[in-house]
Each structure stands twice: as structure tokens, then as C-alpha cells.
């Protein structure tokens, strides 16, 4: 189910796509071409923070599958656990963009630098990339990083600078 401010969209029981615009001007059908105007209003700081936490949850789980508990139970990932469970304030950067992988690819990537605390998680979901990055607890993260926390600024991953 897609809930946008201009329309709802979902699959029916037989698998057909059903588009329900709030007003006729938001969608039009010309033969077999459907044109829909989708406007999002629900991507605020709260939504961004929870998306970043969800990606952190995905990242730690994938690390467990790839490397096991000897890696994931290191204290350098404690801030990830606390971010996921909201046990402590953890600055998180988050952004989105077009995926660099083909549109038929579902890819999850996790990267962590052993020389500093932090985790970068990218989810490439069939053409769209959502990513989130941590740099430890508030006292560990740099002022520049905290300034770009999801609560302060939305960082588009189309900007290469945002991954640094």
C-alpha cells in the first residue's frame, strides 16, 4: 500500500494495481498509459530517523551473517545496538538516491572502518538506494557529522560529498 498525499495505490486480491487519487487531476489514463502525480508529505525528521535506525538494524544483522558474533559483539557496535533500540542518542546520517546497481538488483552493503567507530549501511532496493551512517555516540562523532544528523539536515546520496 502506497499512501501519498495525492493518492493511494495498492494491489488487489487478484494482483491488479489499483490507484485511487484524492482528486481526478492527480491521475489520468490515456489508453494503456497511466499518469499519476505523487506528492509525499511524510518524509520528516521523525521518518528519516526511524528509517536510519531500521537500516542500522539491517546492517548489524547482515554483519552477524557475514562475520558472526565475534565481530558483532565488539563494543564498537554498541552504539548501533543503542541506536536501533533507542537506548541512547546516536547521531545518524541518512539519505537516498538512484541506485548504482541495475534495477533488478536487491543489495545490502555494510562497511565499517576498524580505525574508527561507525557503520555505513546501504540498501539498494530495485533501483532506489537508501543509506544510513553512524560515527559512534554523540561524544565520539565529529561536530561536522552531528551537524548533518537526520534531525538537522537531509542529505541526498546523489551528492558524493554526503558519503564522506
Amino acid at each position: 500500500m502506497v499512501k501519498a498525499s495525492t493518492l493511494n495505490m495498492h494491489r488487489t486480491a487478484d494482483g491488479s494495481l489499483r490507484v485511487e487519487p484524492n482528486h481526478p487531476r492527480h491521475a489520468a489514463i490515456d489508453d494503456d498509459l497511466l499518469t499519476a502525480q505523487v506528492k509525499w508529505t511524510n518524509i520528516g525528521p521523525s521518518q528519516r530517523k526511524v528509517t536510519a535506525r531500521a537500516l542500522m538494524k539491517v546492517g548489524l544483522g547482515l554483519l552477524w551473517l557475514a562475520k558472526g558474533p565475534h565481530e558483532t559483539f565488539q563494543s564498537r557496535y554498541d552504539h548501533v545496538r543503542d541506536a536501533v533500540l533507542r537506548r541512547a542518542p546516536v547521531p545518524l546520517k541518512h539519505g537516498f538516491g538512484n541506485s548504482t546497481f541495475p534495477n533488478h538488483a536487491l543489495v545490502v552493503q555494510v562497511i565499517s572502518d576498524r580505525l574508527q567507530t561507525g557503520l555505513l549501511v546501504s540498501l539498494h532496493y530495485f533501483g532506489t538506494e537508501l543509506w544510513a551512517q553512524s560515527l559512534g555516540y554523540e561524544f565520539e562523532a565529529s561536530a561536522e557529522f552531528i551537524a548533518e544528523d537526520v534531525d538537522h539536515q537531509y542529505v541526498d546520496s546523489g551528492n558524493e560529498e554526503s558519503h564522506k
Partner: protein, 122 residues
Amino acid sequence: MPVLDLSNDRFVVATAMAARQHVSPDVSSRPRSIYGPEHRQWAALPERRCLYCGTPDPEGSEEHVLGVSLGNWWWVIPPDVVCHECNHGPLGELDERLKAHPFIALTRTLTNIPGRKDSRRW
């Protein structure tokens, strides 16, 4: 749907990959969970704790790294690694919120990616 450990001395890197055909509504063509003997061994280590909250000797079911609702039936952490309270509490809630993300929801709907309920229905 491999999970690859691409780490070196400096960086810890893990990558997991799948393709569109792996999230087919057809249950018979869907790959199975990828965890194997080494994962079961990790899950049974002494002094084990919940991966997320740290509770000693956690008991719980399998944890899907990415929610089933996003089409993931194979990147699964074996039972008793994540406690029931985490798995069915905050982690389940985060899976739902990720599923409701506008771009994820739009992709799921347009490309007809079924979740658990949808698979039963079709």
C-alpha cells in the same frame, strides 16, 4: 543470494545480493534461508547474548535481516540469536516502518513484490 565477507585489515565489509526473480510470488521458486552449520554453531556458542539488547541466553525465532514484507525470505539469522522481545518488538516495528517508507512502498507496489500475507493470498 550470497552474503559475502569482503573485509580486509582496515575495513569490515559485508555485501548481500539478490535479484528480482528471487522475490517472486511463486513460493516454489523462492530460495531458502541461507544460514548453514557455521551459523548454527555461532548461535549455540556459550555465553551468548541477544544481538541487539544483550540479554543473556536469548530465546527467540528466526530474525529476518530485511523484513519478509520487502521480499526477503533467505537472509535469516537462526533462532536464539535475537530474543523474542527484540524480534517481535522494536525490530518488527522498524521492519514495518521501512516497509512503509514511500520509495520502498512505491517499489513494492509497482513491481508487485509480495510479503508474507500476499504470498498466502496468491
